[in-house]
């Protein structure tokens, strides 16, 4: 990031041992308290004086939030303090790579191992900026967040949770405690592509999933465009179109122009790439993803 500062501002560090304790702290201090999981985003923003926190509530000591579980039919349930590295190991060791392929690919491409050892999926989703991959990866699947406060709990889908770049549906007294990635149906295939040769962050990412039932044709295609867009964007007309395609070659132009018309409104110039180039790369990544899902 680009802080002119070397110091962090002053704050009080709190390390609750239970979820109830953490929630009580939020009730007491309201907006003055901020939850820290990995701390990767929070501390950077605090150093830049973009987020103020009189109390930093480190939930890494809350044992009940540190778990990953998988069961057939239910899917993956990931606690709030689980790091990307832990998810990566779990998926690999439990033989779930094919089932959650896009998630696994995305984690492998996420920053570097040092950061993945620290950074959490829940923290990533709460950050909700285009530069982070977590929301994009979850959007490829049916995923939900479990949110609790001292007065109860609720479940919200990732797309509802993030309303715009950096804007999330979370009250100062709430904590995201669990991410639920639903078990994909039979024949489900997925892939994640990230294009980042210009900055550390992705310029354009594409997550895609589909159902394959023998043959190369895809149905129920889901295509999520990220990084170049303020939040993960589903390209629904493209999804419909591609799910109905029988002759890919003759449909390429039509598919690409549907991508263009759907995505164009979300993509802006920035100092690192023009809108036109991002759109070009988005199309290339979408073609790449189609090609891969058809050949899996």
């Amino acid at each position: 990031m680009s802080s002119p500062y070397i110091t962090l501002p002053e704050f009080k560090y709190l390390r609750p041992k239970t979820l109830d304790e953490a929630l009580a702290i939020l009730d007491r201090y309201g907006e003055d308290a901020k939850i820290m999981a990995g701390g990767v985003a929070l501390l950077s923003f605090m150093k830049e004086r973009l987020i103020e926190a009189k109390y930093v509530v480190d939930i890494k000591g809350v044992r009940e939030l540190h778990y990953i579980r998988f069961s057939e039919g239910d899917g993956l349930r990931i606690g709030a303090t689980v790091t990307f590295s832990e998810i990566e190991d779990y998926i690999l060791q439990r033989g779930l790579v094919q089932r959650f392929r896009a998630l696994y690919q995305g984690i492998k491409k996420l920053s570097d191992p040092v950061l993945r050892n620290r950074s959490t999926l829940a923290g990533n989703v709460v950050e909700a900026l285009p530069i982070v991959d977590g929301p994009c990866l979850l959007s490829v699947f049916d995923s939900e967040l479990k949110i609790v406060s001292s007065s109860g709990s609720r479940v919200v889908s990732v797309s509802e949770f993030i309303s715009d770049e950096g804007f999330i549906d979370l009250k100062p007294n709430e904590i995201v405690v669990e991410i639920h990635i639903k078990d994909p149906p039979k024949g489900f295939v997925s892939t994640f592509r990230k294009y980042n040769p210009v900055t550390e962050f992705s310029m354009v990412s594409v997550g895609m999933s589909a159902i394959r039932e023998g043959g190369r044709d895809l149905r129920d295609v889901r295509c999520v465009l990220c990084a170049a867009t303020p939040k993960p964007v589903r390209l629904r007309r493209f999804e419909d179109l591609v799910s109905r395609v029988s002759d890919l070659r003759s449909s390429i132009d039509e598919l690409l122009s549907s991508v263009e018309s759907e995505a164009a409104g979300f993509i802006q110039d920035d100092p690192y790439a023009s809108r036109e180039f991002k759109l070009h790369i988005a199309k290339m990544l979408i073609l790449d993803s189609l090609k891969e899902l058809r050949s899996l």
Partner: protein, 799 residues
């Protein structure tokens, strides 16, 4: 140095020995200036201009001074000094005008850094905006706003030629032969316009200094600086303080790459220390400040034309370089001068006209970077040669071979006949093309939208230093016949000191563990060297050290001759002993000599042995102000790079698969560290070719002052395959025949990559970095057929 008596082979020289400081650094135990603290020390935080060009109307620090812990606020009017190494155009804090966004306008001093940072936010500065200039072209226009109205009053060295009343900080011209006649004789002419961006040194340790101005008038400095003696002499000159009253200490340095040469923030910190009542103060920059407020690397635009005969002889070369020096050109004037005098590279060109300018703009000031002037002029020259080769339908290797300088025969661009032991450029070229396996580009059969291609570029580099630059060295024996090696040259990763220690161990036949080179350099305790820059350290300080070794040997032999009752010229030193030539069984261990020899009856002769040596540049000269002719350098190191790259026509992604580096270094003192330099240089050059650029927004502010958006090559980007080879054509007056190479290893890398792309596609990219977007755009403009064909192949692969 004689080969040792036992075995006849070198024991250390030429061996792969890890750097002496590796363990301390890897364990995190090495102490850098950033780590140092002095009890009672104050912290300094700078306040930065928000305007690119403006008069300062007022600075209100009434709120800041009330922050608990704040001691003082200082502005430019309190300390109206100008400093600099070549042109003294830098202020310590903006005096009445700010010249770029990020220009320090005030300094807050506090008991702790957090208070200083908090107070800095509360300072209110009122400005009267002036019209800014952001490009060299704008700055050179007739009615352009002038940044430095008092340019003629600044102190400068005689080699530099500013144009007062304009934004030209330096103008240099190289004239050889008759340029018009040369072009008139040419059968073909190629032309190009080139552009390089501002970049960052990206060293790991940002600039940091601790200064303590004492009541006595003595100043002590601790700084992350490359050249403590240059810091001392420049402080002395610009603050008018006797050099002997100033002590500069340099502990471990977290990288420099030229960006910590000359003078940094030492003068500011020293004056602040005095201002706050003679207390030690520490000023350390954040990474963002390092990008926005501290000197970075200049951008350049250039135009060039090259005339050739039908058979591929270069008969005329004209180039014009405009360096964007930003608000201060202090060191950058020498970048422009160097790019000018070295513009002809490794080639024998009869007719040359190279003009070079350093031009002020309202952007971040600039300074030296590894090889300065050379990456820039070689990017132009070495790409022009590939353009000419294509135009003439000749092979890029052969056309280079035809035009190479011939040691002992050819004269360089500056009109000096190249010494006959200057190296073997033909062999260098041959080895690069052999190691690279110089084949034609190939389309990947599995992915026909991907092309693999090879490119090469040569480079030549010598130190750019004043003609009287000098060095000295001391070898001081300890009681156990171990040696303290004292040199002025600093160690920020090059490996020079390990090489120097190996030379001492070799000379006395003692274990390397008994040779001590301390990390700290200090103007009080270290012998003088001009600067640690320009790939000069091993050469100049190495020669001084060899002289010191000889001096110590003479003193040892004198003592031993009395002890053994033989003439001094019958004695030799090896294996830690002095022995009689022809009768090695008659010997005395050094331990018994180096503190003086004591006879059995208690009487004694000699005394502690200290050897002293020096080196001065000698026959190098100033360059003629009209023609640039003269002898600018003490050696030339020839070398070059070959690359194999993989280019994705559709996405613009470029992956470097293979790196070939060949340099004629005369003698490889330590091949392991040489390879380390070559790999580091390659990756740095590759990073510059493909990724690095400081982006300025429309107001002149740095848009990407961090390593997330200013991308530097990571491990994953580096090639897997390195083939590095050193040619050893000894230079008779070099230390053990060697020449410097620390900078040369990165100079030709960017252009070799551009040449590989050109060879694969015929698409010429004359602007760095070669981003995917730039490449795809260029392909679609210059070779739409190639793009269409690749896209079609891609679609075919899908269905």
């Amino acid at each position: 140095m004689d080969k040792p008596h036992s075995g006849g082979e070198y024991r250390y020289i030429g061996k792969r020995i890890p750097p002496l400081d590796a363990y301390e650094k890897v364990l995190g135990a090495a102490e850098y200036t950033f780590d140092l603290e002095i009890p009672g020390m104050f912290h300094v935080k700078l306040v930065h201009s928000e305007y690119a060009h403006a008069r300062i109307k007022s600075i209100d620090y009434s709120k800041a001074i009330r922050v608990p812990g704040v001691v003082s606020v200082i502005t430019g009017r309190d300390i109206p000094y100008r400093v600099g190494i070549y042109v003294g155009d830098r202020d310590l804090l903006a005096i009445d005008k700010v010249l770029w966004i990020g220009h320090p306008v005030a300094a807050v001093v506090a008991e702790n850094l957090r208070a200083a940072e908090k107070a800095a936010e509360l300072i209110e500065v009122e400005y009267d905006p002036l019209e800014p200039v952001f490009s060299v072209e704008e700055a050179l226009r007739e009615n352009a706003p002038i940044l430095h109205e008092n340019l003629d009053k600044y102190r400068r060295l005689p080699a530099f030629n500013p144009k007062p009343g304009t934004n030209i900080a330096n103008y240099f011209k190289l004239v050889k032969g008759d340029i018009d006649k040369g072009f008139a004789e040419a059968d073909t002419i190629v032309r190009g316009r080139f552009k390089l961006p501002y970049i960052s040194h990206a060293y790991m340790e940002p600039q940091v200094v601790i200064a303590w101005y004492r009541y006595s008038g003595d100043i002590e400095i601790w700084s992350s600086a490359q050249s403590p003696f240059a810091v001392r002499s420049l402080l002395s000159l610009s603050l008018d303080i006797p050099a002997g009253k100033i002590k500069v200490n340099v502990p471990y340095i977290g990288g420099g790459f030229g960006g910590k040469a000359g003078l940094g923030w030492e003068a500011l910190a020293a004056m602040i220390s005095r201002h706050v009542g003679f207390k030690p103060v520490k000023l350390m920059l954040s990474r963002a400040e390092q990008f926005k407020s501290a000197p970075v690397v200049p951008g350049m635009v250039a135009e060039a034309e090259m005339g050739l005969s039908r058979d591929g002889r270069i008969v005329a070369y004209r180039a014009k370089f405009l360096f964007d020096s930003g608000a201060f050109a202090d060191y950058t004037v020498n970048i422009s001068r160097t790019a000018g005098y070295a513009c002809a590279g490794s080639y024998d060109i009869p007719n040359i006209l190279c003009e070079s300018y350093a031009v002020y703009t309202n952007k971040v000031p600039t300074t030296a970077l590894r090889g300065f002037g050379h990456p820039e002029n070689h990017f132009v020259l070495e790409h022009m040669i590939d353009m000419a080769a294509r135009e003439l339908d000749q092979d890029p290797v052969k056309i280079r071979s035809r035009n190479l300088l011939k040691p002992g025969v050819s004269t360089t661009g500056t009109g000096v006949r190249l010494r006959e032991d200057a190296g073997n450029p033909q062999l260098v070229l041959e080895r690069i093309s052999d190691l690279l396996d110089w084949t034609t580009p190939e389309v990947d059969p599995e992915r026909p939208w991907v092309i693999r291609s090879k490119g090469i570029a040569l480079s030549v580099k010598g130190p750019s230093q004043p003609p009287n630059a000098s060095s000295s060295a001391i070898v001081k024996f300890n009681e156990d016949a171990s040696v303290d090696v004292m040199v002025g040259t600093s160690n920020f990763g090059q490996g020079t000191v390990t090489g120097l220690a190996m030379m001492v161990a070799e000379a006395f036949g003692i274990p390397l563990e008994k040779v001590h080179v301390k990390p700290l350099r200090s103007t009080d305790a270290s012998p003088y060297t001009w600067q640690t820059v320009g790939s000069r350290g091993l050469f100049t300080d190495g020669l001084a050290l060899l002289e010191a070794i000889e001096d110590a040997k003479r003193k040892i032999k004198k003592i031993a001759s009395q002890a053994l009752k033989v003439d001094e010229d019958h004695l030799e030193i090896a294996d830690g002993k002095v022995y009689v030539v022809g009768k090695p069984w008659i010997s005395i261990p050094l331990e018994k000599i180096v503190m003086g020899y004591q006879f059995p009856d208690g009487t004694s002769v000699g005394g502690p042995v200290i050897g002293v040596g020096r080196h001065i540049a000698g026959l190098t000269t100033y360059l003629d102000p009209e023609t640039g002719q003269g002898n600018p350098t003490i050696f030339y190191t020839f070398g070059g790079t070959g690359v194999e790259v993989e280019i994705n026509i559709l996405t613009g992604e470029i992956k470097v698969l293979k790196a070939v580096q060949v340099y004629d270094i005369g003698k490889a003192i330590n091949p392991l560290l040489l390879e380390g330099q070559a790999i580091g240089g390659f990756v740095m050059g590759m990073s510059r070719a493909l990724y690095e650029r400081i982006i300025f927004d429309e107001f002149g502010s740095v848009a990407n002052p961090n390593f997330s958006f200013y991308y530097v090559a990571r491990a994953k980007d580096a090639p897997d395959n390195y083939l590095i080879e050193f040619v050893e054509t000894p230079q008779m007056d070099g230390p053990l025949g060697s020449r410097g190479v620390g900078e040369n290893v990165m100079i030709s890398v960017p252009v070799a990559i551009a040449n590989a792309i050109y060879r694969a596609t015929g698409v010429s990219i004359k602007e760095l970095p070669i981003t995917p977007e730039r490449l795809v755009k260029a392909i679609r403009e210059q070779r739409p057929d190639l793009f269409e064909q690749a896209f079609k192949a891609y679609i075919d692969s899908m269905v």
